[in-house]
Symmetry: C3
Subunit: 153 residues, 3 copies
Amino acid sequence: MQLEIHAFQAAYARCLDDEKLEAWPDFFLADAVYRVTTADNFRRGLQAGLIWANSRAMLADRISALREANIYERHGYRHILGLPLVAALASGEARAETPFLVARIMRDGATDLFATGRYLDVFAHDEAGALKLRERVVVCDSSRIDTLLAIPL
Amino acid sequence: MQLEIHAFQAAYARCLDDEKLEAWPDFFLADAVYRVTTADNFRRGLQAGLIWANSRAMLADRISALREANIYERHGYRHILGLPLVAALASGEARAETPFLVARIMRDGATDLFATGRYLDVFAHDEAGALKLRERVVVCDSSRIDTLLAIPL
Amino acid sequence: MQLEIHAFQAAYARCLDDEKLEAWPDFFLADAVYRVTTADNFRRGLQAGLIWANSRAMLADRISALREANIYERHGYRHILGLPLVAALASGEARAETPFLVARIMRDGATDLFATGRYLDVFAHDEAGALKLRERVVVCDSSRIDTLLAIPL
């Protein structure tokens, strides 16, 4: 499943960087859990995160809200994902951990290091055989995360 | 072809970062198209780019010119490529999209985030069976690109 | 061996970023060589590096010393590895070159680009069949490396 997960992660990153946000929920199963948290909170076992959703419908709602709110010109983002570490599960599912770095490109062209962290994922195939996320916990390394709330990670 | 493209991209990045610029044209077919542009121009469908070449010979000329011009001490660069997204084509060729980040290392040791973007590639095998680029469009995320003209990406 | 090395590199990076430093020597053979140097020194063929060890026991000692010294709160680190370039050796071993970028996350949440470079590795299987490093030379792009001495790379 390693190469299949490589391709999935590449497609996921492209979807976000191309700002095709309406396609983003399709990377998840209908009852998927999606959570964004910080390394500090994660280490302490705190469930409260910056973002929490337990269905694909909630993710779609989030995108709708984001589109309405973002009347200003957007920054650009570039996700660079490291190599995923994959462990097959007995269920036929797989657990994967993938480090990420996100660069932010301002409208004036300045580029900075926006965020780093890791995706803690559970992958499963849906009834059509397509690989989807059953669970994604996005653990951001930094505790400075206010602005993260604007975009999916 | 996914793993073959992984290896190709790794070799391409190493060639540039090792400053083996004379070997760079060999990653392309003789009649390859190579183009560097910005995300803004690319989105608007503008063909005009920062760099444009339609043969390996033009790439070799470019390197010769670069070597003559660069009498000053060079900065170093480090390309970090993300996971390629590969789609096989009916022709036996493949289309791939690969995100990149380039760090620049100054002579005094300072390191900054130089550029981010993506490679939009068409890969084909040459008559000897070696994987080569038939086309590479380098889409830089930022519109601040003057200095990009100095080095191949 | 390409995918096996991908997985190895992902596990290695995770070990460091999770600060599981006591597990770090296990990525090496008992008589492995580990060296950290700069691109300048490497280019000149200078053997003297910032760190030099020729056994797993020396690596374990280094971690013990590090744990004793680091009574202050640590920064966090995030390794993003590029695609490895792998060449099989006749011996059944493999040589690999992998570019890396390390971001540093300060306690106050600020994130900067800490280091870039490449791993020059020789991989071998141990008697139990597990993939290990026989040799890792860490070549840092920048010559500003004092602070690098604090953490393994």
